[in-house]
């Protein structure tokens, strides 16, 4: 199942709809990296609310997506990780160190706005 990517203002929003196969995740990675370049997006939100498992592969892929997007000058926020999923992740030994996280899409957008403002203020100074 492919992940739809929505363009909203300067941001890209990818909403994962159901349990993803590894191939879908890799496709998402390629699509996001391409579109961030194409639209000169300032930020990307990946909504994982529908993900019922975040295993080592998913975590590694999300980390590498965030890394590539950073190299293209944009911010990534992962939002919607479920309490049970977070619990299993940390027990497995997985973290998303260095990547911003938010409770849900609304919070994710607020966080991106704040980040972008801070960055612009820093540049303007």
């Amino acid at each position: 199942m492919e992940v739809p990517i929505l363009k909203q203002g300067g941001y890209l929003i990818a909403t994962i709809q159901a349990a993803l196969s590894d191939a879908d995740l890799i496709k998402l990675q390629d699509a996001l990296v391409e579109q961030v370049g194409k639209y000169r997006s300032k930020g990307v939100i990946i909504d994982v609310t529908a993900l019922d498992v975040m295993d080592s592969f998913a975590t590694r892929t999300l980390r590498s997506i965030a890394h590539m997007i950073k190299l293209r000058g944009a911010e990534t926020v992962i939002c919607g990780i479920q309490p049970e999923v977070a619990f299993a992740m940390v027990q497995l030994g997985l973290t998303l160190e260095g990547i911003s996280t938010a409770l849900d899409l609304e919070e994710g957008l607020a966080l991106l706005n704040k980040r972008t403002r801070e960055r612009e203020a820093a540049r303007g100074r």
Binding site: P83, A86, V90, Q91, T95, T101, L103
Partner: protein, 302 residues
């Protein structure tokens, strides 16, 4: 009772050398109590009801308990050892505490028994004040230690029950408190084992989601010790909360626990720690964008 006091004083000044040993006196006493068992038990039960003690129990129950206490009481007087009585007191407490019987009621019934027995000794030895006094002198300290044993047994049992209840309550409802919008406090008190740590984490994570919390203050001032296993859970809780988008501030970290964390490889500089809960809440409010107004500021403005 005033009469008894008077008699005793005159007897002490008599300088009469007692002809019997205390053991012998107690034996006489015990024989008397055994002989009049039925009547004295009834009298005691009647006085308990009259004094409105043990109202949580039925007449029959009071009589049944009175019988057992009476027999144990007499046995303690005879043997001078209180183990059996102590055991019974604890057992009795265990049964009656859940029914709401209070400490003063238990002390009350034991004192009543002391009184009932003393009165019967009066009646029996009235004719011989010297002997009565010696009997009472032997009886008093024994009766007092018995009363003491029963009362202490009850109080200890009550304390144990309360501690158990508190523990059970604590386990059932780990308080995740919302002090203001988007700010949760998780005060951890007592002993944490891995099982409880897991419960705490699950509850906190669910709490973050339902309250849409952005900042969580975990206060571990009330945690005496933490082994590396539990310390690992704490670190996992901090990380899992962050995965949900919440920032965790840990307060009340004792030097011992800080050392445990360092030992298991936690980089404390990466952990958000603040000395005490108050400071933690202030820090949380700063993170949430609330202005913390110092008292000196407001007074300067006023």
């Amino acid at each position: 009772m005033a009469k008894k006091e008077d008699n005793r004083i005159t007897s002490d000044t008599d300088q009469n050398v007692p002809s019997e040993s205390i053991g012998e006196l107690l034996r006489q006493l015990v024989a008397h109590l055994r002989q009049n068992r039925t009547q004295l038990r009834q009298e005691w039960a009647r006085r308990i009801t009259q004094a409105k003690l043990l109202t949580a129990m039925s007449q029959d129950e009071i009589f049944a308990e009175a019988t057992t206490i009476y027999d144990n009481y007499v046995e303690a007087l005879e043997s001078g050892t209180f183990e059996a009585l102590q055991g019974y007191a604890r057992n009795l407490s265990e049964r009656i505490i859940p029914r709401g019987v209070e400490t003063q009621e238990v002390i009350g019934i034991v004192l009543l028994l002391r009184d009932v027995l003393a009165r019967s000794l009066f009646a029996k030895y009235q004719h011989d004040f010297a002997l009565l006094n010696r009997i009472l002198d032997a009886y008093e300290p024994a009766a007092n230690s018995i009363a003491n044993t029963v009362a202490v047994g009850f109080v200890q049992e009550r304390e144990r029950t309360i501690t158990q209840q508190q523990e059970a309550i604590r386990e059932l409802s780990t308080p995740v408190l919302q002090v203001r919008e988007r700010l949760l406090i998780l005060p951890i008190i007592g002993v944490i084992d891995p099982q409880r740590a897991r419960q705490l984490t699950e509850q906190l994570l669910r709490g973050i989601r339902t309250n849409r919390a952005k900042v969580v203050v975990i206060d571990i001032t009330g945690v005496a010790a933490m082994d590396s296993n539990v310390a690992n859970h704490l670190v996992q809780t901090v990380e899992a909360s962050r995965l949900l988008g919440a920032t965790v501030i840990v307060t009340g970290l004792s030097p011992e626990i800080a050392q445990t964390l360092v030992t298991i490889g936690v980089d404390l500089t990466k952990m958000n720690t603040v000395g005490d809960l108050q400071g933690g809440i202030e820090e949380a409010e700063k993170l949430l964008g609330y202005k913390v107004i110092l008292v000196s500021d407001t007074t300067a403005q006023a």
